[in-house]
């Protein structure tokens, strides 16, 4: 999965979560509205009820007041026209009622008047059950449907002032009624501040669809049956505001979420994705242009870009270095090959030349001797001496050739290294040199056993010992061979009591064909020490010379363990 895809998935999940939260928010909003509506309904119900009660209270209080009055009791006993005229008719106007009825205990009407706008209508007598209810409870309030309309009727038993608690028996019954007419509804409207209507049926729980709450007050007959309802419809602005608010919030939040997502995505793309793809692109192509672009990146990526650029710079440097090294190496190798070839040719040359030079040299030697022998009677002493000189030069040349051969043999002949017991090797070398008997050679006991080519060890000791013997000018020649152990190597010394060597010749004596005496005085090829040096150095060692002229010479060399 690519990082971009992962990011998209993360964004999608975020969006889903966001919308889920949004739905929950909506739900809460709805619940809140419902609570608000319910509260509104309750409030409105109580407003309507209070308004209705306040209106009926006036009538019920009047009814109450009239019903314990001694004059009224007298009026029931002996109804008089004056009383009715002055008192009872005044009730219609004073309390804006439509019906007044006074009944004696035998439920016969003493006064019974029903009028609307001062127009007398057919009076009516309440149902017998109403009277029996009144006998039980002293008061009654109920509604009744008449031809004129719905009446709100209040009834009470009549008592004397002596019976304030109305415990005694009643003297009669008193009724007042008010028609639920348009003026009644209008006054309710004024009291409640909503639309008031008299209806037969009502969905009085109300719905907030049109921001209106509807409640209803049931109007019940004496038997508890609902005869009709007073309905109150009220428009509440907060409902529409809340509704509008939630719609606005929804759109606002949705837009905000969308914008945030877009901004997040874009900024992620710009801040992370694009730099990352630039970096990975540069890492893949490794091109200088792409890498240069990394340096213009922002913040953290700039550091990374710089690091990458640095890394590539180092790598390029390294690559260049490697290239140069390779070239040098190749040159070296070429040089080594050339050197190797030259060296081999030189070795072959030394071998072939010296080998092939020997045959004619031998012929010259042989023939000069034959002339000497065959023609001795014809040669004078001068001639014979010249032939002798010729022969001696043949000998010298032969020695030189042998010298070249043995010098080149050191590296030319491949011989396996063996464990060589120096005690045996030194003894053998002394035997090969066979010094004069009076020569004293002291050899250190318990010389080590070393890993070396046996012939090389022999050559070293033979040359050093024979030189010491050959050049010794003392009557009692002495040679001392010593060995010391020193870490990773052995140091072996060969000292003599010979004439010694001046320090300025220390280097020269190790060079091939270099001798310190004229060849005619002392026959030497000057090859011995150069061979010794070559052998020792070929085996990783070193040879040094130390000498005091007149007292002796000490050669010391190193053999690796």
């Amino acid at each position: 999965m690519k990082t971009q895809h992962k990011l998209l998935v993360i964004l999608l999940i975020t969006a889903v979560l966001f919308f889920a939260g949004f739905l929950i928010f909506l739900n809460i909003q709805e619940k809140q509205n419902e609570i608000l509506i319910n509260a509104g309904i309750e409030q409105q119900r109580s407003i309507l009820e209070t308004a209705i009660k306040s209106k009926s209270e006036v009538i019920s209080l009047t009814t109450y007041d009239y019903t314990y009055w001694d004059d009224f009791v007298n009026y029931i006993e002996k109804p008089t026209h004056e009383f009715a005229e002055s008192n009872l008719y005044s009730l219609f106007n004073s309390f804006n009622i439509n019906y007044v009825g006074v009944f004696n205990l035998s439920k016969k009407p003493v006064f019974n008047a029903f009028q609307i706008d001062s127009v007398e209508l057919l009076p009516f007598i309440p149902a017998p059950e109403v009277f029996s209810k009144l006998a039980d409870s002293n008061f009654i309030k109920y509604y009744k449907l008449t031809d004129a309309g719905l009446l709100e009727i209040h009834g009470a038993t009549i008592h004397s002032t002596a019976d304030e608690a109305r415990n005694g028996s009643a003297f009669g019954y008193f009724f007042m009624a008010k028609l639920i007419d348009s003026s009644y509804l209008k006054s309710l409207k004024n009291l409640t501040g909503g639309m008031v209507e008299l209806v037969l049926e009502s969905n009085y729980r109300g719905t907030p669809d049109d921001n209106t709450i509807t409640t209803a007050y049931p109007l019940e007959g004496w038997d508890g049956k609902t005869l009709g309802l007073i309905e109150l419809k009220k428009v509440y602005d907060f409902l529409s505001v809340s509704k509008r608010l939630s719609t606005i919030s929804i759109w606002f939040l949705a837009t905000l979420a969308f914008v945030i997502l877009i901004i997040f995505f874009l900024s992620f793309n710009v801040l992370v994705n694009i730099p990352l793809s630039k970096i990975s692109h540069a890492l893949i192509t490794k091109s200088r242009d792409d890498r240069q672009k990394l340096l213009s990146l922002n913040s953290e990526f700039k550091k990374i870009g710089a690091l990458i650029e640095d890394y590539f710079g180092q790598q390029e440097k390294l690559e260049k270095e490697i290239e140069v090294r390779k070239e040098t190496e190749a040159q070296k190798e070429k040089l080594i090959t050339e050197l190797d070839t030259a060296n081999r040719e030189l070795k072959d040359f030394a071998y072939i030349v010296s080998h092939d030079l020997k045959a004619p040299l031998r012929a010259i030697g042989s023939i000069s001797q034959w002339i000497h022998a065959d023609y001795s009677d014809k040669l004078d002493d001068d001639g014979k001496m010249q032939l002798d000189l010729l022969l001696s030069r043949v000998h010298r040349m032969q020695n030189l050739i042998e010298g070249i051969l043995s010098y080149s043999r050191v590296t030319r002949v491949k011989e396996e290294k063996e464990m060589v017991d120096l005690n045996v090797a030194v003894k053998e070398a002394i035997e090969m040199v066979s010094p004069p008997e009076k020569f004293k050679i002291s050899v250190e006991e318990n010389l080590p056993t070393v890993s070396y080519r046996p012939t090389h060890i022999l050559q070293i000791f033979e040359n050093l010992i024979s030189n010491a013997v050959k050049y010794n000018n003392k009557e009692n020649g002495e040679i001392s061979i010593r060995c010391t152990e020193n870490g990773y190597d052995w140091r072996i010394s060969v000292s003599d009591n010979g004439p010694g060597i001046e320090e300025k010749y220390f280097e020269k004596i190790f060079q091939i064909f270099q001798t310190l005496q004229a060849r005619d005085e002392f026959e030497s090829t000057g090859i011995g020490l150069s061979i010794v040096k070559k052998i020792i150095e070929n085996n990783g060692g070193r040879i040094t010379v130390d000498s005091t002229p007149g007292e002796g010479t000490k050669f010391e060399f190193i053999i690796l363990k």
Binding site: R362, A363, S406
Partner: protein, 138 residues
């Protein structure tokens, strides 16, 4: 030397051949000396039934066409030639040549000295060896 068995001298250098012959004469060796110039000629000579088989072969190593070592490799595989003693007479002081020729069963290895008198001494040693040594078919 023993009877009059011929000596086969395998030598390309004319003066060396002369030297050997002169030394032999000086040492009163009367056996006839047959000289051939290289290994091939030596094999031809030895395989020619008209030629009497030599009592000893004096062999130079460094020769054209077929050198001494090559000759020995062939001769030592040959049942008839294997028994003829071969003394190497060479200029080479090389250890490797010495080892190889002895591995090929030579009777002796002599280095040609530059000095004629020493040369005579070498031939004298060969004569002595041959005089004392017994050949298998005699």
């Amino acid at each position: 030397m023993i009877k009059n068995k011929p000596i086969l001298l395998v030598e390309d250098d004319m003066i060396d051949a002369m030297t050997v012959k002169r030394a032999l004469k000086e040492l009163n060796v009367v056996n006839p000396v047959e000289t051939v110039e290289n290994g091939e000629e030596a094999l031809n000579f030895l395989r020619n039934t008209h030629n009497e088989a030599p009592g000893i072969i004096l062999l130079d190593l460094n020769m054209p066409r077929m050198n001494g070592i090559e000759f020995l490799r062939v001769a030592k595989k040959d049942d008839h030639l294997r028994q003829i003693p071969v003394v190497v007479l060479t200029t080479s002081l090389e250890e490797i040549d010495r080892v190889e020729t002895f591995n090929l069963g030579v009777a002796g290895y002599m280095v040609k000295p530059v000095d004629y008198k020493q040369f005579v001494e070498v031939i004298k040693a060969i004569k002595l060896y041959w005089s004392l040594s017994q050949l298998p078919y005699q």
